[in-house]
């Protein structure tokens, strides 16, 4: 059996006395789309923060292609191939849309101080590549982030476009796996549908692996190869959408607090 692309092994994370994650394990195979679901406060975003190096786990391990990334700085983990978006969009608000995406390419380029000052042919070429690659990533979302918008500051974008830009920026880091934290939060039904297609296209067209935290069950149903359900920082179920959706524990977890979300 081949090593999964991403493995989360027995991760525990405590905040003070509170366990946000409790011996959580799952893995994601190359080319898979896996959704993490769970009620609010189930520790979903914490998983992302642990994987991307924002928080160190108190216990357990996170492996990318079999190699541990625990202890690496977030920027190293990004370079290793894990890209992410944030639950409440975090853009470089005053940089232009294009520049935001170009920052994503930072870890794939090398120009240093002297190269930048002298603007050597190599640096110039690299800058050109960076720009092209950034435009390509923005182009993934069709006309939404194209044309004049690329020269606008990010804060001028609509909410949905900010979310798209954040994803484009993540794509621009040339990752092997993207972690999307509630990508459809705050979007209207049409935008949500569009985004569902984008997630599938990320895998089919870009060959990426996707790990997504999602509340909207239509999206989860539409994109997921597998679903991991969490509650109180533990995994309570794992399997196909149908298996998880009919799991006793999952239903209870949701009915207990937020049953409307299964509708």
């Amino acid at each position: 059996m081949t090593t999964p692309l991403l493995e989360v092994v027995g991760v525990t994370k405590r905040f003070g006395g509170l366990s946000a994650l409790n011996d959580l394990s799952f893995d994601v195979a190359e080319g898979e789309i896996v959704s993490i679901i769970g009620p609010n406060g189930a520790g979903k975003s914490t998983v992302f923060n642990v994987i991307t190096g924002l928080y160190p786990p108190d216990d357990g391990d996170v492996r990318l292609r079999g190699e541990t990334v625990v202890g690496l700085a977030p920027n190293r983990i990004t370079r290793a191939g894990i890209a992410r978006t944030f639950q409440n969009v975090h853009l470089f608000a005053n940089m232009t849309v294009l520049e935001n995406a170009m920052v994503g390419q930072h870890c794939r380029s090398t120009a240093g101080v002297f190269g930048s000052i002298l603007r050597t042919p190599r640096v110039r070429k690299e800058e050109e590549t960076t720009r092209e690659r950034a435009k390509e990533c923005l182009g993934f979302f069709g006309s939404r982030l194209a044309g004049y918008r690329q020269d606008q500051p990010a804060f001028a974008l609509s909410y949905a476009n900010r979310r798209r830009l954040e994803m484009a920026r993540a794509l621009a880091t040339d990752p092997s796996i993207v972690l999307l934290d509630e990508p459809t939060a705050g979007m209207n039904p049409r935008e949500t549908l569009e985004l569902r297609d984008h997630i599938v296209r990320m895998r089919d067209e870009l060959g990426l692996t996707v790990l997504v935290i999602e509340h909207d069950m239509r999206v989860v149903k539409g994109v997921s190869d597998r679903v991991v359900a969490c509650d109180y920082g533990r995994k309570i179920a794992e399997g196909t959408y149908d298996e998880v959706a009919n799991d006793e524990q999952v239903i209870e977890a949701y009915l207990g607090r937020r049953h409307e979300e299964l509708g």
Partner: protein
């Protein structure tokens, strides 16, 4: 109406303040135009004038901007003036009744000269009434200025301030004109020192004319500027016009010392040194967003290491002695070494402290700046750097027999380095490195998550900033030829910070403008030396409150600081996030949990 009373009394108090610090009493003889318009007179008018202007500001009522109509504006201005005048007149009456000398025993600047100027031999009630009348005129003028149509307002405004500026520059412009052999007695009176009325009229007309012309072309220019700004990321485009302007500017800069003479060249040399410091700090503060309050560290390091590397000697009572380390390097060999030392120190001192949150970092750097000053002063390092006596016989950076100590020559040496620093800053700003810095400044944690090594780029900013600042220090040493610790104080750090902030954080033209205003002007106006730091402090506060993007803003930076409504909601949401970021970016959270 209530706001008129409030603003009027503030204006009155400001005028009292100006009198108490001596800005009126000490300058009753500083004539600006003829012998009627004096600096002291302007000081009396300025607060009610601004008050009248402020009180008539358009208000936002139920979502739309309501302008004040003319009649009402005049009334508001008059009320502001009356209140301001009464407050100030009450002060004058009080001083007169209580006795100037008794007050002067405490407030040293409330002097008989001040009272002579304000009362002028008239009975005190009459003098007070005149002061109120003056304030009313000023208040109305300020208010009317606000409601004038643009076509009149702008030329009038620029005529007034340019004329006053020329009156103010009476020590500079005549010297330059003399140097150029231009007859100037019609413009500046030898008798009063200031502008003649004929000269003032000419200056005012020229200023108004330029303003009208500029306004006609305004739209075209504005469009051009907007176009340029949108392309900013790709660097400025060279059109024939901008090329011509740039060449003319360069030519003017190159012949400046010969036109302006030694005195002004001397000041311009200082301006260049501070421009270098400003450019260096701009990388740290403006590009990477790290507030460094101890920039004097690199200034000192540059000056002293150059001195040591090029074989300067120690000052003693009887002459000079060799320091413990004396290398006889050539200036041009020593400079790269100085730069290297500074960059390395930047990394070394940066490494332990860069994880600190912004305001803590600021205080640590302040501490480092203070420490190096104490060290070069201390008897402990006296055998190396001369302690309080300092060092002398510093190289004049000669090429062959051509030395650079002479202010006119030094100007060119410094200009070469400023040009280099400008080039480096500009190239870095528009590169992968600059992008990483911007990302870091905007959101450190996200930049990290997007693959930017925050620590490395912070250190890089420190090293680059330090390197440029150390050149400033080295040039300073060449310029004055000897070093004493008195030149290296925390005030240098604050001054350079003021330059970067007043000019516009992150903006290269801003740094140059800031240096000219904050270093050039005070350097030329010696009689205001005492008030330089007061003005600095006021300028720092005012810029942060009123125009945080600075005089010549960097486009992106101004967005960051200006977009009020967006910022408000961003700040609000940041407050929550901040606690996380703050703790994440620094070990500060370590014991907070």
């Amino acid at each position: 109406m209530r706001s008129a009373v409030r603003i009027g009394s503030s204006a009155g108090i400001v005028t009292i303040f100006l009198a108490a610090v001596g800005l009126i009493g000490n300058f009753t003889n500083l004539n600006l135009i003829g012998d009627q318009v004096t600096f002291a007179g302007v000081m009396i008018l300025i607060a009610p004038l601004i008050g009248g202007y402020v009180v008539t500001a358009p208000k936002v009522e139920s979502g739309s901007l309501v302008r004040v109509d003319r009649g009402r504006a005049a009334i508001l201005g008059a009320v502001t003036g009356v209140v301001a005048g009464c407050v100030f007149a009450a002060f004058v009456v009080f001083v007169d009744v209580f006795g100037v000398e008794r007050i002067r025993a405490i407030f040293i600047n409330i002097s008989p000269a001040l009272m002579d100027f304000l009362v002028g031999g008239r009975p005190v009630p009459v003098a007070a009434a005149i002061l109120v009348a003056i304030a009313v005129v000023a208040g109305v003028a300020g208010a009317v200025y606000r409601v004038l149509p643009d076509a009149i307002r702008k030329p009038v405004g620029s005529a007034v301030w340019v004329t006053l500026l020329f009156g103010f520059l009476q020590r500079i412009v005549p010297i330059a004109l003399d140097q150029l052999d231009i007859e100037r007695d019609w413009l500046y009176s030898k008798l009063t020192g200031g502008l003649t009325w004929v000269g003032a009229a000419v200056v005012a007309m020229v200023a108004a004319g330029v303003s009208v012309l500029k306004d006609r072309r305004g739209d075209a220019i504005r469009r051009a500027v907007a176009g340029r700004r949108s392309r900013e990321a790709e660097g400025p485009r060279l059109t024939p016009l901008t090329l011509a302007i740039a060449l003319a500017g360069l030519a003017a800069v190159l012949i400046a010392p010969h036109v302006l003479g030694s005195v002004i060249s001397e000041v311009l040399g200082t301006v260049m040194v501070f421009a270098l410091l400003g450019l260096g700090l701009n990388i740290v503060v403006g590009y990477a967003g790290l507030l460094d309050l101890g920039y004097v560290f690199f200034f000192t390091l540059g000056a002293y290491s150059l001195a040591l590397l090029t074989g300067a000697t120690l000052n003693t009572f009887v002459g000079s002695t060799e320091p413990v380390i004396a290398l006889g390097l050539n200036f041009y060999v020593a400079i790269p070494v100085v730069v290297l030392i500074a960059a390395l120190s930047g990394v070394l001192i940066g490494a332990p402290v860069l994880r600190l949150r912004g305001d803590y970092l600021a205080l640590v750097t302040l501490g480092l700046g203070e420490m190096i000053v104490v060290l070069v002063t201390s008897p402990w390092l006296e055998p190396l750097v001369g302690g309080p006596n300092g060092m002398r016989d510093i190289t004049n950076a000669a090429i062959g027999n051509f030395g650079f100590r002479d202010p006119k020559h030094f100007y060119y040496l410094a200009f070469a380095f400023v040009a280099l620093a400008l080039f480096v800053s500009w190239r870095l700003a528009n590169s992968r490195v600059g992008r990483a810095w911007t990302a870091l400044r905007e959101d450190e944690q996200v930049a990290d998550a997007m693959g930017v090594s925050t620590t490395a780029y912070k250190l890089l900013a420190f090293a680059m900033g330090g390197a440029i600042g150390s050149i400033g220090g080295a040039l300073f040493a060449v310029k004055i030829g000897s070093l004493t610790p008195a030149s290296f104080t925390v005030l240098v750090s604050i001054q350079v910070l003021g330059i970067v902030i007043l000019g516009g954080i992150g903006s290269l033209p801003g740094v140059l403008t800031g240096t000219l205003v904050l270093v050039g002007l005070p350097g030329l106006l010696r009689e205001f030396e005492e008030y330089r730091l007061l003005a600095y402090g006021a300028a720092l506060v005012a810029v942060m409150l009123l125009r945080p993007q600075g005089l010549v803003p960097n486009v992106r930076r101004s967005r960051e600081l200006q977009e009020e409504d967006r910022e408000q909601d961003k700040w609000a949401s940041d407050v929550a996030a901040d606690e996380h970021v703050a703790a994440g970016a620094s070990p500060l959270g370590e014991s907070a949990g």
